[in-house]
């Protein structure tokens, strides 16, 4: 075979090979298109029944894979020469000329008829044009593939009910992450709380750390996070002593009485350590007291013991013993009893601090639980609040805090009647211009307006009033004045009363 003939055949076959590969790719693409579109539609359909993160991205994966496979089919592994020859012979009706010519060339057959055959094949190859290879396209299968594509596009366009669930989940995850941060802050606060005993501090820190770990592991599920929080909350609630509030109140009252007895102004929030120190100082002063003073002290201590007995039995018993000792002239007994009373007050101080920490943790957990529970439902609540605000404006304009029940919201521009100062602090001194008397003197009346009177017509902007009430409620919640099972109600109530609550 003349090399010229072979090169002519080879060159033409290469050109035809490219065209054949393109034709094959088109055919493959048209026949495999339905699989990609079916997967596309299936993923979108499944995504309407179960929440799938990044659904649209996942739905495009089969189509992207199909494109990659088609491109790979086109570009990778070109057709070998003998296969091109076979295909060209078959598709262009070349009657096996190309295949036979290539085989004769590979066998180095130089017979006359072999030369004639290859020359004939070369002449035929010269006349070949790539366009003669018809591009094959399976139109029917491709059209079948368009059906799931159309369904998929429709599913993509129609609103997906799972989107709301996905959004809610995302918000829950954000809320859980936020709660984890809050718990970390709480743990740091507990770690810095010097009033707590070492054992109590470690126990609390460990429990909060465990809770953080659990939340990190179960960030995906609102239910799991709530369950974990509830379990921890129950454990902390079990650590609460229901008599702590009464004990605190009794000891604080004792402290105030001691301050008053010493000529000091009674403190709203007395420090129990100072109370213990006062008792110790009182014990030290016993020797220098006159019998009358001791008798008077005995009576006061007996009275304090009686008042304290309802909250702190131990301290009351020590005070009572001290009073008896003084009454009986047993100075040593009185001194020892006062010392024990001081120790008892210190112990109570630690217990109360522990209970406060537990209470604070419990309060934080309840807040966290509310945040997680409300995550993703703010839109609905906002709508409800807006409706409530409208109801409140229509039905109870100028009626103060916005009424009860459904009409909870209040606008910031409203003014309300403020019956008392919820903080318990005394009001500022007010001076009222008096009338000039007959003798030319001016009558001046000085008073305090803690209770301004029933008919006081002054109205205060709601936005100024609410923080005082909210602060008072928050302190009450922190101090445990509110029974645990009612705290949620109190929080919800003040949440609804918050200025601007319910506004879009």
């Amino acid at each position: 075979m003349a090399n010229t003939d072979f090169h002519t055949i080879q060159h033409k076959l290469r050109v035809l090979g490219t065209r054949l590969r393109l034709s094959d790719t088109l055919l493959f693409a048209s026949r495999s298109f339905w699989a990609a579109t079916l997967c596309f539609a299936l993923i979108l359909a499944i995504g309407r029944f179960t929440p799938i993160p990044l659904l649209r991205l996942w739905s495009l994966v089969p189509l992207a894979l199909w494109v990659l496979v088609v491109l790979g089919y086109l570009l990778v592994r070109p057709l070998p020469m003998h296969r091109i020859a076979r295909r060209a012979d078959a598709e262009l009706n070349l009657e096996s000329r190309m295949t036979t010519a290539l085989e004769l060339h590979s066998q180095h057959d130089d017979s006359e008829i072999s030369r004639l055959q290859q020359a004939d094949a070369a002449n035929t190859a010269v006349q070949l044009k790539p366009a003669q290879v018809r591009l094959q396209f399976d139109q029917r299968t491709a059209l079948i593939g368009m059906l799931p594509l159309a369904i998929g596009l429709a599913l993509l366009w129609l609103p997906n009910p799972q989107d709301a669930i996905m959004q809610e989940r995302q918000q829950v995850q954000q809320a859980v992450a936020q709660v984890a941060e809050q718990l970390e802050q709480l743990r740091e606060q507990i770690a810095q709380n010097e009033q707590l005993s070492e054992a109590d501090r470690e126990a609390l820190e460990q429990r909060i750390a465990e809770l953080q770990e659990q939340l990190r592991e179960k960030m995906q599920s609102r239910e799991d996070a709530l369950a974990e929080l509830s379990q921890t909350e129950t454990e902390l609630r079990n650590q609460l002593n229901p008599e702590t509030d009464a004990r605190r109140a009794a000891l604080e009252q004792l402290s105030r009485n001691l301050q008053q007895a010493n000529g000091q102004t009674p403190s709203q929030k007395p420090d129990l350590n100072e109370t213990a120190e006062q008792l110790e100082r009182m014990a030290e002063m016993l020797e220098n007291m006159t019998p009358a003073e001791r008798q008077e002290l005995a009576e006061r201590l007996a009275q304090q013991a009686a008042q304290t007995a309802g909250g702190d039995q131990q301290t009351a018993q020590n005070l009572s013993d001290a009073a008896k000792g003084l009454q009986n002239g047993d100075l040593q007994q009185a001194l020892d009893s006062l010392q024990r009373a001081a120790d008892s007050v210190r112990d109570a101080q630690r217990d109360i601090a522990n209970q406060d920490a537990v209470q604070q943790s419990l309060s934080e957990l309840q807040d966290a639980r509310d945040e997680i529970a409300n995550a993703g439902q703010e839109g609905q609540q906002g709508q409800q609040g807006q409706q409530g605000q409208q109801g409140g404006q229509q039905g109870q304009q100028g009626q103060g805090s916005g009424g009860q029940g459904g009409g909870a919201g209040s606008g910031e521009g409203d003014t309300v009647f403020r019956p008392f100062n919820p903080s318990g602090e005394q009001g500022e001194r007010e001076f009222v211009q008096g009338q000039i008397g007959e003798d030319g003197s001016i009558e001046r009346r000085e008073g305090e307006s803690a209770l301004p009177g029933v008919n006081n017509p002054s109205l205060v902007p709601y936005s100024e009033v609410f923080p005082d009430y909210a602060q008072s409620a928050s302190e009450a919640l922190d101090r445990g004045y509110i029974p645990p099972h009612l705290k949620d109600y109190v929080r919800d109530y003040f949440s609804q009363l918050e200025p601007g609550a319910g506004e879009p």
Binding site: E95, S96, T100, A101, E103, L104, I113, A121
Partner: protein
Amino acid sequence: MTIPPQPPMPPQHPQSPMPPQPPMAPQPRMTPEEFRQRTFAIEAEVGQVIVGQRELIRQTVVTLLAGGNALLEGVPGLAKTTLVRTLADVIDCSFSRIQFTPDLMPADIVGTTLINEDEHGRKAFRFEPGPIFANLVLADEINRATPKTQSALLEAMQERTVTVAKTIHRLSTPFFVLATQNPLEMEGTYPLPEAQLDRFLFKVNVSFPSTAELVEIANRTTGNRAPQPRKVANSAMIMEMQTLARTVPIGSHLLNYAARLISATHPETKEAPPITRQYIRYGASPRGMQAIILAGKILALLDNRYNVDFKDLKAAALPALRHRCILNFEAQAEGVSADEILLGILEAVREE
């Protein structure tokens, strides 16, 4: 003892996809174009005598050029004898006709040894050749002779030699037997066994002419002018043409296709299509594949090509395989012909 020349057979070469040419094979002096022109001339001259029957003429000529023998099956009066006689005239070869009858003996075909007395009175054995010693032999109604006589002819067809009295006599070349058999009147006949049918390269069905052809036959044969065909070839040319035909290249995928085609006629093979399993008892032999390929090469040359194509093999498949496939009882009961089954097989076997 004389040894007949063996036809050049390609040696087996498992590594090569194409059968390489034999190293000492004679190179044909005839060109493919001359081959084609000469063949067309032969067909044209025969066609002057034989009306219509293009396929019959083509397949007979192909059998001649392939160096094979043909079995013609058709009712009497379809110009089978005329065909062979005309062909012999056109290629300028000797012709003899043997009418097979039940009492025909092998010596009547191959010849016999006689005691001959010369002018000096000395007696000696002399071989008297039978009618088989001709280039073209017409074995008319071959199925009417006994198997013993049939065997004598079939041995000559296969070996191209005749053995009489321990002496092997080589037959003249080219040697071409055209046997006929009548599909009707099977009473008292001796159907050829499968092994002997396999010796025929082609089995050609001679169809009844159309009305127009009948009119033309009437015109040619009932007038006072008989067509006189010219001699357009001779025995040497036929031998050259036979040599050239074997040199036509064939691709490995075509050889593979021919092999798969033969395998598909065997019901026990995995390549067998359902129609084979349903109707064929035993499939074609390797001689069938050789027949397809050889005929395919000739058909390729006649199609002005220098290589074999699928269509050549397909065109040769029916006449080459129809007598080599043994049908089962179901096919015979349902009246399914071998051609119908072979067409089904051709459709089932893929070209790839």
